[in-house]
């Protein structure tokens, strides 16, 4: 049975990330920042990635990383979700890093681990782990041409891992975004805190990775989906905590509205669902860390936590009443993050479809 508790190291890691984000990324500054053309605070990213070493958590020590596991990454993502911090952590430290590691790269992954450069994985953020290998980019005469939409964290990426179809089938390539022929066009996102952009490649020079491209991509997407569940848990936890605090102080009809049973019961139900999300998200992180039971644990966590985060954000909005509908209150940032993340790396329905085959419950 997997270890579903948080260890001492994980608790310490959580405390230091939370302290930093409380200090450097309060929701007021997140809200102010997303209205500018610089939503990502790259100073904060340097602190997280390089000084605290979080970008290299999944990277072995001999490649310059921290040699930690998905369990620690999950804790970081819970905190990044709780603060809806706009960072390229998912795109760079999880998706690009896992793809590079799985394909046997040592060079680029070391740069990402050190926090010197930022990476992205050139697939639509909606790509599920069991999706067919993308065919949007072709290799012609050793150069890449094609167009990929909705790539997460691309607009701040220095380097992109690109799945492409070569003469013999699936390949993975490393492309520098500064190369000739690369165009990055930001898309106005529903989730203001995680940016997406379109990548266009016209006869672009690249470095081809040697490993099994299809397997490496699947590993990256599976890891991403399992760890995104932790981020969604963090989103849900903030929604529960903030709403509990709000209804305890907001007075109507001469009482705090949190003393009305209709609201108390909704929050009690939400708390029970969040308890479930902690358990499934820990199970997925542990499965990714140990390599055992990965497919089922990830499918369960991804489908459960996606739906829970949306539900939690919708409950938070409703129970905040009018204030929840305003721009000046942060609940819309959480709703945008939750709803967009529900589509990311496989919808809940898509994960349940995958689960049906993993646990032998065919349609």
């Amino acid at each position: 049975m997997s270890d579903l508790l948080y260890g001492e190291v994980e608790n310490d890691l959580r405390a230091s990330v939370r302290d930093l984000l409380t200090d450097r990324s309060p929701w007021t500054s997140v809200l102010a920042r997303v209205e500018t053309d610089k939503p990502y605070d790259l100073e904060l990213w340097r602190t997280l990635a390089a000084e605290m070493g979080l970008a290299g958590l999944l990277v072995p020590e001999d490649l310059g990383g921290a040699g930690a596991s998905a369990r620690e990454v999950a804790v970081v993502l819970e905190e990044l979700g709780r603060a809806v911090t706009p960072t390229p952590f998912l795109g760079s430290a999880v998706l690009a890093t896992t793809a590079l590691l799985a394909a046997g790269d040592t060079e680029t992954v070391a740069e990402l681990a050190a926090g010197q450069r930022i990476g992205a994985l050139a697939v639509s953020l909606t790509t599920a782990p069991n999706a067919a290998f993308p065919s949007a980019v072709k290799v012609v005469d050793g150069k890449l041409t094609g167009r990929v939409g909705s790539v997460a964290d691309l607009e701040v990426a220095d380097v992109v891992v690109v799945p492409a179809i070569g003469a013999d089938g699936p390949e993975l390539h490393v492309v520098q975004t500064a190369s000739a022929g690369v165009t990055v066009t930001p898309i106005t996102p529903l989730d203001l805190t995680r940016r997406i952009a379109t990548l266009e490649l016209a006869d672009v020079e690249s470095r081809k990775l040697s490993g099994d491209a299809a397997a490496a991509l699947r590993t990256a997407l599976t890891t991403g989906a399992g760890l995104l569940a932790a981020e969604q848990l963090g989103v849900a936890q903030w929604c529960l905590d903030a709403t509990t605090e709000y209804v305890a102080t907001r007075h109507q009809f001469g009482r705090p509205i949190g003393s009305f049973q209709a609201l108390r019961h909704r929050l009690a139900d939400l708390w029970a669902s969040v308890s479930g999300a902690v358990a499934v998200s820990r199970a997925a992180a542990d499965a990714l860390a140990t390599g055992s039971d990965v497919d089922i644990a990830v499918a369960v966590a991804a489908s459960y936590c996606s739906e829970l985060a949306v539900h939690a954000a919708e409950e938070a909005l409703q129970l905040h009443g009018g204030i929840g509908m305003t721009w000046e209150h942060p609940v819309h940032l959480y709703l945008g993050r939750a709803k967009s993340s529900e589509l990311a790396l496989g919808t809940p329905e898509r994960h349940r479809d995958a689960l049906a085959s993993f646990v032998d419950l065919p349609a």
Partner: protein, 390 residues
């Protein structure tokens, strides 16, 4: 812990399980302190930590050791034993714990009344002092195992002039007393799993009072807390429980499958897995000495989930879902739901959100104790019970 393991092994070597008389064997286990290792020496335990119990239970299960009478554990183990341990006199502990453990004496719980369920503290059963005895009159309901129980834990009102939580006392009631009448209470399944208990002039010795006069609510709260935290010693397997019955049918009978049922089944599978992992997290937390509040989440989710699963199960059975195996009135002494038909399980699980604290009461507890939300205003706490509108 290794020491404890050695003791279990030694005990098993000295007391072969094969062909053993269950009561005799369990009595020896109790005397060896291996019944509840966290209980004191001489009372079935070794004064060890609570977290050590799991390994002991698992070792005995693995050795195929005799298990108590299936009618005994629910109320006796989970509720009566910890309450007697905490509030009982030495004499009471000596008298009651061993036969409770071996299953020689089955226990039932005389708390709920027709007019006092979720609002238990309004109960009206009276106990009036008469020398060394109390004379008890009233009616109890929803008494599991009342028809086989030798003893009952009883809460009765000993001072109606006090507010409702203060005038209660807690007793151990001899179910063979001539004033005790147990009648089957037939339920929506057609069976009488529970009973009504009528108490007419029942004489309970004061020596069978648990805790001080007027302290009954405090004692009862301990009992109820223990009811809600009782969890199994092992990690549940994936698809344990009701979801397993539906997945079995799904796999074996492809002709019953429809696309709509498929997505519902998968959603419930995910929810069942989430509940299993939540309970497992609670278990691991307890074992690590970090008890968490997940027990309340598990009880609440368990009820909703079981009802959704059994509802789906009836639909999945199509035309067969229209039939019901047997409406004959029975008085079962175990909770063998897995072998029953889908209709029975559907009806029975409706009780999951009512028994052991309704889901509504549980949500109030979560809101108060875990979320620490402001309480609802109440008008009944400081008024003498006799003056409350009823």
């Amino acid at each position: 812990m290794t020491d404890l393991k050695a003791q279990v092994e030694q005990f098993l070597a000295d007391h072969p399980t094969e062909g053993a008389d269950a009561v005799e064997w369990l009595g020896a286990r109790f005397d060896a302190g291996l019944a509840w290792v966290h209980f004191p020496v001489g009372l079935g335990g070794l004064g060890a930590s609570r977290s050590a119990q799991q390994a002991v239970d698992e070792a005995f299960l693995a050795a195929n050791a005799p298990q108590p009478n299936p009618a005994a554990p629910v109320i006796g183990y989970g509720m009566a034993a910890p309450t007697i341990l905490k509030f009982g006199t030495d004499e009471q502990r000596q008298r009651f714990l061993r036969p409770l453990y071996t299953g020689e004496e089955v226990w039932c719980q005389l708390f709920s009344e027709p007019g006092a369920g979720s609002d238990l503290a309004t109960l009206a059963t009276r106990a009036v002092r008469d020398g060394d005895e109390w004379i008890v009159d009233g009616q109890k309901v929803w008494t599991t195992m009342g028809h086989v129980a030798r003893w009952g834990i009883l809460v009765a009102r000993t001072d109606p002039s006090l507010p409702k939580h203060q005038g209660l006392s807690y007793f151990l009631c001899d179910m063979t007393d001539p004033g005790v009448e147990v009648r089957p209470l037939r339920q929506i399944t057609g069976e009488a799993e529970f009973n009504e208990v009528f108490l007419s002039g029942v004489r309970v010795p004061d020596a069978y009072r648990l805790g001080a006069v007027g302290e009954g609510w405090k004692v009862a709260t301990t009992t109820l807390m223990n009811e809600r935290v009782t969890i199994g010693a092992h990690a549940a397997e994936r698809e344990d429980g009701l979801i397993g019955a539906v997945t079995k049918t799904w796999r074996e009978r492809p002709e019953l499958r429809t696309p709509g049922l498929h997505d519902r089944l998968l959603r419930l599978w995910v929810d069942a897995e989430a509940l299993r992992l939540t309970a497992e997290r609670l278990r691991q937390g307890l074992a690590a000495g970090q008890p968490g509040p997940e027990g309340s989440a598990a009880k609440l989710t368990f009820a909703t989930l079981n009802q959704a699963i059994t509802g789906l199960d009836v639909e999945l059975h199509g035309e067969e879902g229209l039939s019901y195996k047997d409406w004959t009135m029975r008085r079962p002494t175990d909770a063998d739901w897995a072998s029953r038909d889908a209709g029975f399980r559907y009806l029975r699980m409706k009780g999951n959100s009512i028994e052991g604290g309704t889901s509504e009461i549980l949500r109030n507890i979560i809101a108060d104790r875990i979320l620490q939300l402001p309480k609802e205003p109440r008008g009944d706490v400081d008024i003498p019970w006799k003056d409350l509108p009823r």
